[in-house]
Symmetry: C2
Subunit: 587 residues, 2 copies
């Protein structure tokens, strides 16, 4: 069954969680018109279903190929990319000055979710370009912007991030690639980079590599890292393409999944590049790309999970096995309560993850554009707090949901050629790249909890409690029950936060041992908060979407929020036990 | 790093959980001698490490091949099987009358764990033979036993289970394969079977297929299913091999993992077979094989999880990234608390799963051999209760632990050719075959809770509470804390059991919606019970194994048992919410 964008759920999330109305009220998006949202989403859904999804399975089988002239994309992807470029999708969230449409980035994220669901390998290509554009917008000089931004924003060229080296994965500061001044303002870059997504391909005429490297006199570690731009083809003064730069793909990784995304070993052999931002300022520029990439990877998790959910639902409706309540034999397996439980968990998980990701992107929009500086500051705190949750919680759910989809398919799910298997394999990279989920948890407890005097999480908890009150006052029996669960869950998250904040000061190593369990609780509670918000907002409306929102919030409250109060000791006491016992047991 | 059998942990589990001493005291194992255990385990460990494990990675890459003459096993497996056969390992748990060694089956299970950890694809071959032998021992007539058992018990021939057909997976009663009497006591079997593990190969000279099929006048559904024996080569009266039977492999599945295990489509084209057990008694015979297979698949989960744990531990000690507490830069990642948490969870999960599987097999030994009928009956209840937990909980943990191993490997873990990736892919089938884990949960709440008037679970809870008392009285601070967690967890399991037992009577559909969550809680608590048992028993001893057992029990108590009291609503209330909301949301 082909992927079909869940337009109702996406629109509901944009309305009730991202609160597009608030973004429009900033006045920062003159092109934005509420009536445009539906047609944009519908066009994107068509692209995803009719163009992008149909080549997904073939790409999984064939993969990209490396030949003497570089990488050839998997069958069909050149046409897919052309359709994406011609639709002007790349420019959606970028300034009109550079050829973009100046729309909220959360709208771009909704489009990205559809591409990810349709074909995660393909969607990585524009996803990396997005990061490159953000980095150039934030750190490029005018000449660099003028030369590269129009081509990247139009999608004529694509962008990459070149960070990782064999000895420098999570620890970017350990990288060894060198950049030597050529004396003409350019640099000669030499070194090897690994795991470079869409590092080479034939779907666009040029590739703009953003490369981390060290200047000759750079300090050690991450403070001595600079960012360079090195295009595949050098660009002449008139904007035409010049000679081939000395950077090439010398190998493709054989991976578990995302086979149609070429993961390149890149060799820089004195490649010509230009410094972006100041010397030794590479880390700041990298974080610009990474923050954009983190919510995008979270959304990749949402897209894959949504696709897996659809495949499982279709299979469960179609596959007949045994008797079920009300049917004597050959009942579709969706009638079995245990299958229904799995499907409902998938529904609730996907919608909660979608909400966290969209809320994160909407906060980024507000943080940049709100007219009131206090609103901007609060939104920035919210964006920073939600970024590690968007990345880690959503991608953990992607693995979990796609795992459940395999399970629902039974033996067929284990066959390498089913869609369910592909989603499971594609999903597995998402908790790893753009900062492992462990690193996200450390970021959450190590930076985000103390940021703004601890204000980010306390503001979040205030919002959750206010929403619980609103739910209780909504005069609807299910919402009252949900309010009870949400209140208790907020109290648990508050208690865990208090412990964590104190432990980070007094016994940092112990605290870090509880980071992942804390991050999971935080995501669980915040996810339930957003589901409750949607249910409250939809209460005013009528019809199946409303009942669906209430039903999902209710199921999630009983299934997931109900466990929150009992999970605090699994953070704090388990971290203490870890500190005491691990030396002996791990050696 | 090659797989190395965890001899200390295996021996500890046999001693403190399987309680080999109790088995010896039955007098049913005259060949059993406590001094023999260590040399047997050490020999098996050598076989696993030196012979079986070294071809595991190659088998993953190459897989089995189907040619005109049938299936050729992956490189090296013929030699591996020869070593296994020559070592006499196949006969370990079977009666001396048929060439076996008459030792407890739990000892055979410990050996099986090592084979599974070393090479899960290979270990499936003897694992299927074990099930065939059990079925013949229980249901074959004397002539059948005399003809086939000596060859199967010696390992000269292998056995298979032929159950599944495209329309008949979990619902075996839907199968269509026909068996027509030939008039000479034999039957002509015609039909197609899929997903047949090691259905054809070249590592042994003959293959004994046990096949479910329907007699001409059979009733519909599972009551009309009979079991037949159809060898690959017919056996002459003198025991020599005769002509090729009309059964052959016509296709191999392309799977996500266990590539070196040939998963065959088998075509029966009037193949000659003989009825095992009575007409239409196939289901009972099938359950003999399945019950043996379920604890074996659980143990496959333990073996793969153990191998993944070892790979992750070795990688975490070797891989250097960034600063860690006490080290400024390039610290091995094992020093990071979040990595330590993952490794400790793996340790505790593997040991708890091992304990559940071994306890299940030991109960089966006692149920068959104890001299006191009351002991036999109680042991049978325990075996029946633990079987679905051994299968489902251990295999869920196999997926979880191998998933964590991939995560610890970071980007390298996603590369298709690393050991961690192979374990992850191999593990994924284990929650599916031999009855999906959803079916195990339904078996637990639907049959096992009501069995013996509900006595199986109440006896289990009594044992758990008695162990908590023993821990509290042990006069050791950590054991007192563990006792508190175990008591609270037992109370939670008791509460959930009361709800579940009542709901299964009053509102079966709702109850079944809580089955998986209930089974997970039961496994969590029973796993903690066994870890506590080991800690108490080891208290009398001295040295690192004792401290390790206490440390593991303590970490698990805080990390996992502490969550039990908060998870009851996630069973009962979530099942109610499921019943109320799923119709609307799933359509």
């Amino acid at each position: 069954m082909p992927y079909t964008a869940p337009l109702d759920q996406i629109a509901l999330t944009l309305r009730t969680v991202a609160r597009l109305g608030d973004l429009a009220a900033t006045g920062a998006f003159p092109n934005f018109d509420a009536d445009l949202v539906e047609p944009i989403l519908e066009e994107a859904a068509k692209l995803a279903r009719d163009v992008v999804a149909p080549v997904n399975a073939q790409g999984h089988k064939t993969g990209a190929k490396l030949g003497p002239d570089g990488v050839t994309a998997a069958p069909g992807l050149k046409n897919v990319y052309a359709a994406y470029r011609e639709g002007g999708w790349m420019g959606l969230p970028f300034p009109e000055q550079w050829g973009g449409q100046g729309l909220p980035r959360v709208l771009s994220l909704a489009v990205m979710e559809m591409l990810q669901g349709a074909n995660a390998s393909f969607a990585l290509c524009p996803m990396l370009s997005l990061g490159a554009v953000e980095a150039l917008l934030a750190h490029g000089d005018e000449a660099q912007k003028t030369t590269y931004l129009p081509k990247l924003v139009s999608g004529e060229w694509t962008g990459t991030m070149n960070l990782t080296e064999p000895q420098a994965g999570s620890d970017v500061g350990a990288l060894k690639t060198k950049a030597i001044p050529n004396g003409d303002g350019s640099y000669a870059i030499t070194g090897q980079k690994i795991f470079i997504t869409w590092g080479d391909h034939d779907v666009a005429e040029n590739i703009v590599h953003l490369v981390l490297a060290r200047l000759p006199d750079a300090p050690e570690g991450s403070r001595g890292v600079s960012l360079f731009l090195a295009p595949k083809f050098l660009v002449n003064a008139d904007g035409s393409l010049g000679e081939r730069n000395k950077v090439r793909c010398i190998g493709l990784e054989h991976k578990m999944g995302i086979h149609a995304s070429p993961t390149c070993v890149m060799e820089y052999d004195g490649a010509t590049g230009w410094l972006i931002g100041g010397p030794n300022k590479g880390l700041a520029a990298m974080f610009t790309m990474m923050n954009s990439a983190r919510v995008n990877v979270g959304t990749q998790g949402v897209g894959i999970a949504e696709a897996a959910r659809q495949a499982a639902l279709a299979y469960a409706r179609d596959r007949k096995q045994g008797a079920a309540p009300g049917v004597d034999s050959a009942a579709p397996i969706i009638l079995h309560p245990d299958i229904r439980r799995m499907l409902m968990n998938m529904e609730a998980s996907v919608q909660a993850a979608r909400s966290i990701c969209y809320a994160c992107a909407a906060a980024a929009d507000l943080a940049e554009h709100a007219s009131d500086p206090a609103v901007r500051a609060a939104a920035k705190l919210r964006e920073d707090l939600l970024t590690p949750m968007a990345k880690a919680w959503s991608t953990d759910k992607a693995v979990e949901v796609s795992n459940t989809a395999v399970q629902i398919h039974g033996g067929m799910g284990f066959m390498g050629e089913t869609d369910a298997a592909q989603y499971y394999l594609d999903a597995r990279i998402t908790p790893i790249y753009e900062g492992t989920n462990g690193i996200q948890a450390i970021d959450l407890v190590g930076r985000k909890l103390s940021m703004g005097g601890g204000g980010a999480m306390s503001a979040m908890l205030d919002d959750i409690r206010a929403t619980a009150r609103e739910a209780r006052n909504a005069n609807h029996p299910h919402l009252v029950a949900i309010a009870d669960r949400l209140d208790a869950a907020a109290a648990a998250l508050g208690e865990a936060t208090t412990w964590m904040a104190a432990a980070m000061k007094d016994k940092r190593e112990t605290a870090l041992g509880g980071a992942t369990a804390y991050a999971r609780l935080a995501g669980n509670v915040v996810g339930g908060y957003f589901l409750t918000r949607s249910a409250i907002d939809e209460l005013k409306t009528d019809g199946p979407l409303r009942d669906r929102a209430i039903g999902l919030a209710r199921f999630y409250a009983e299934e997931t929020l109900s466990r929150a109060p009992g999970s605090v000791a699994g953070i704090s006491s388990a971290a203490e036990a870890l500190t005491d016992t691990a030396d002996l047991i791990l050696g």
